[in-house]
């Protein structure tokens, strides 16, 4: 077993080479997944902050009296998403 890990005397070169490769593969994947999660959470938060408009849009359309006065966004604008 220890003979295997000695790599015929080249252990000091072979194992670090594989370690560097594995670290790069894992670190790049991890950074990618972390960034993806962060942006997914950000999109969710931004869309949640905007949700009331969508809720108003879902309400009966022929009662424009209160809702149009309260919001700057018209259904046409918020429908652009």
């Amino acid at each position: 077993m220890s003979e295997y890990f000695a790599m015929g005397g080249y252990a000091a070169y072979v194992w670090p080479a594989y370690a560097v490769t594995l670290v790069m593969l894992v670190a790049t994947l991890a950074a990618t997944l972390l960034g993806l999660r962060r942006r997914e959470a950000m999109v969710k938060a931004l869309e949640a902050a905007r949700a009331p408009r969508g809720a108003r849009r879902a309400s009966p359309a022929n009662e424009p009296t209160l809702s149009t006065a309260a919001t700057a966004a018209t259904p046409a604008e918020s429908g652009a998403q």
């Binding site: 015929g8 080479a17 999109v43």
Partner: protein, 240 residues
Amino acid sequence: MNRFANPTRFLRVASAVLPWSAGITALTLTAGFVLALLVSPPDYQQGEAVRIMYVHVPAAWMSMFVYGNMAIAAAVGLVWKHPLADLFSKAAAPIGAGFTAVCLITGSMWGAPMWGTWWVWDARLTSVLILFFLYLGYIALVNAFDDENRGTAAGNVLLLVGAVNIPIIKFSVDWWNTLHQPSSVSRLGAPAVDGSMLLPLLVMVIGFTAYFITVVLLRLRSEILQRKIQSIRFTEQTHS
């Protein structure tokens, strides 16, 4: 090609591809590491040090493959203003830089026992070092502009100019006599590598390629989300 310019359609295709590419990555990389470290024989001249080849050579090929793809995407982005082409280069650059770094570092670790030196300023090593700096320069350049479109346009020009380096890397070992050995796999006639070493090498190459496809799709998804975040913020600013 324009069918994939639509981010929504692209995301749907990416979601269908991702489980497959991720599965193939896991399988082939596991098999590749087992074959490279346990199954393949030691070299009659280099002994066990030859095992460095199985990570060094695929990383070197990927460093050029990824750059080639980015250069093509740069041309597509500049000519047709294809939005996903710009995002592709941004997504791929850090992966390509990683492969190039692995290629340089493992090459040093192979050179030290076999050549008796960690580094030599010959054409092959120097041109790969330039490739590494091209990746870093591209990443720095696209992030240096407030206007993202100007950043990617400048980055695309850099990618196209830097593409001249790829054939220099490829043929440097044939044009100049150096410590680095010439091509032994992709050459006219049969490869000069025995099947027992060629198999782990090819499995590793498939694994690295599948890894690249998987990670670049995830990064593209992330870049599309970033664009979405910016557009939501932009509409909120203009409406308030």
